[in-house]
Amino acid sequence: MEGEVKARSKLAQANQAKVKKKKKRNGDPFSGWQENLSGYLFIAPMFLGTSALVLFPIIASLALSFTDWNFVAGFKNASFVGLENFQALFSNDTFLKSLKNNFIILLAIPITLFVSLSIAVIINKYIYLKDFFKVIFFMPFISSVVAVAVVFRVLFHPSDGPINQLLMNLGINNPPGWISDISYALPSVMLIMIWTSIGFNLIIYLAGLQNIPIELYEAAQIDGASAWYQFTKITIPLVSPTTFLLLITGIISSFKIFDLIIVLTNGGPANSTITPVVYLYQQAFLELKTGYASSVALVMFIIILVITYFQFIGQKKWVNY
């Protein structure tokens, strides 16, 4: 008896489920193979393109990084070398130098963030012609990096360049050699980076500032708080989600800087401005060491992956909403 009841109730449940399923189908009359087919047709170009140009290359790159394939020698002469490429990579002075340079470049990010936030606050509250100023500061960001680098090659010229002529006229007898001086080349690159990325950071900060309730400032004003006090105690903590986002985008894009360095210094003088991307380019397309360059690509991929992971956990932990 008991068994029968159980079986019955099971049957009832199954029936109910069937009805539910049917109902669901009836509620949404547009499903089934036709819907599936049109779905696949719509996403097909994007998905096939991404597969061919991103998914396949990243897997192939993973495989290649364990070979000693040299583009000139041809595929037949390639052989599996295990971790040899990675061992060579981490004992290569130029690659280590390029990693070190990239970490130094990261120092430009907090400076960019501070300058951008200050300008954003001023544009947001203290001046007229907001839209006009947005456009002004955005111009370097929208401009061709190649052309900008060409202009700065002349501006930074050690003896005849306008910048050093100005410095000498101001009484500085030994102005820095900028991009032709080993110790000033990287800071010069960073200066241009800051100049070009202020526009982007500023625009994102302006959007972030809109989310701060104006009542907070009004209350602070009634209490007689100074503009500086408002900036440090209200603005900075409350835009921290934006700051965190910009910090991460800044770090990730610092690993992608390519145009500026190739045109401005080509990694020189004496590798003082080389970065992993530039090193990758040199190894892959000038030295034609395909397998070795793939291992550089893989290391970069892992670095970006780690940063993105920190972004995920960091967003939960450190951001002050």
Binding site: F30, E35, S38, G39, Y40, F42, I43, P45, M46, F47, G49, T50, L53, V54, L55, P57, I58, S61, L64, I123, Y126, I127, Y128, F133, K134, I136, M139, P140, I142, S143, S144, V145, V146, A147, V148, V150, V151, V154, P162, Q165, L166, F200, I203, I204, L206, T249, K256, F258, D259, I262, V263, L280, A284, F285, T290, A297, L298, M300, F301, L305
Partner: protein
């Protein structure tokens, strides 16, 4: 602090304007140098208005000389316009599919596409290059167009806009017997036009300024785009600064004009996506 003219605000505006001019000094210097004769480019103090005008000769050399900018412009316009069209179309289709069609495996496929956004493009260069050599797309404009045509950013952004269209509009059209392709072209596309404009302008600017892909995937000088042209022009005329500046102006100014016309779209698009070209 009520209505009317606020003097503190005016003073701040003037201070900011001075800072703005200093900020754009490299551009002002570039334009001024491009109008001068070579001997006066580096004189100090800087003459912002040239003593001897040489604009016509400088720009004529840049546009019709050994690395003619007229050809570079034509190549760049061709590549950029084709890329923008393809990319907008591919992204629109995929975005509609991911937002408005219930097909099997949709969410998994969407996550796969999104995940590729994390991969830095430079890590793909080596294998993309080999692939292009293999299938014969190396050193072609078509290959260059394809490289920028499958944008995760564009798909993601347009999908957000499609999600904003109410399902009822689409369902009632389906009840009337319209298929997804008709709905896509006649109903959905017109509704997301502002988003398309934003993405199209961004894609135009990014493709126009692209240097890395042309550098690696083009070899013939006849196919060079403007960014590649500026670099080889600068290498060729490395010591003739007035010509280098005229080349830089030619590369920057047209895009600045497009930006100023479409600035609202550009700024909104950047704020929306929080992306860096």
């Amino acid at each position: 602090m009520t209505a009317g003219i606020d003097f503190r605000k005016i003073i701040m505006t003037v201070v900011m304007a001075i800072f703005g001019i200093l900020f754009l000094m490299p551009f002002i210097w570039m334009i001024s140098a491009s109008l001068k004769i070579e001997e006066e480019v580096l004189t100090f103090p800087i003459q912002w208005i040239p003593d001897t005008w040489n604009a016509v000769a400088n720009y004529k050399e840049v546009w019709t000389g050994s690395m003619p900018f007229s050809l570079l412009y034509w190549n760049s316009i061709k590549v950029t316009v084709l890329t923008t069209f393809t990319s907008v179309f591919v992204s629109c289709l995929a975005a509609y599919g991911f937002a408005k069609i219930n097909f099997k495996g949709r969410d998994v496929l969407f996550i796969i596409v999104l995940a590729t956004y994390m991969i830095p493009p430079q890590t793909l260069l080596v294998t993309q290059f080999l692939l292009y050599r293999w299938v014969g797309l190396y050193d072609t404009h078509a290959g260059l167009v394809l490289l920028n045509s499958f944008s995760v950013f564009g798909t993601f952004m347009l999908r957000q806009f499609y999600l904003g269209i109410s399902n009822e509009i689409i369902e009632s059209a389906r009840m009337d017997g319209a298929g997804h392709f008709r709905i896509f072209f006649n109903i959905a596309l017109p509704l997301v036009r502002p988003a398309i404009a934003t993405y199209a302008i961004l894609r135009f600017i990014w493709t126009w300024n692209d240097f890395q892909y042309p550098l690696i995937f083009l070899r013939s000088e006849a196919l060079y785009t403007i960014q590649l042209g500026v670099q080889s022009f600068a290498d060729e005329h490395g010591s003739v600064y007035s010509l280098m500046m005229a080349a830089s102006v030619s590369a920057i100014v047209p895009l600045l004009i497009i930006f100023i016309i479409g600035q609202k779209h550009v700024i909104e698009g950047i704020q929306l996506g929080g992306v860096k070209g």
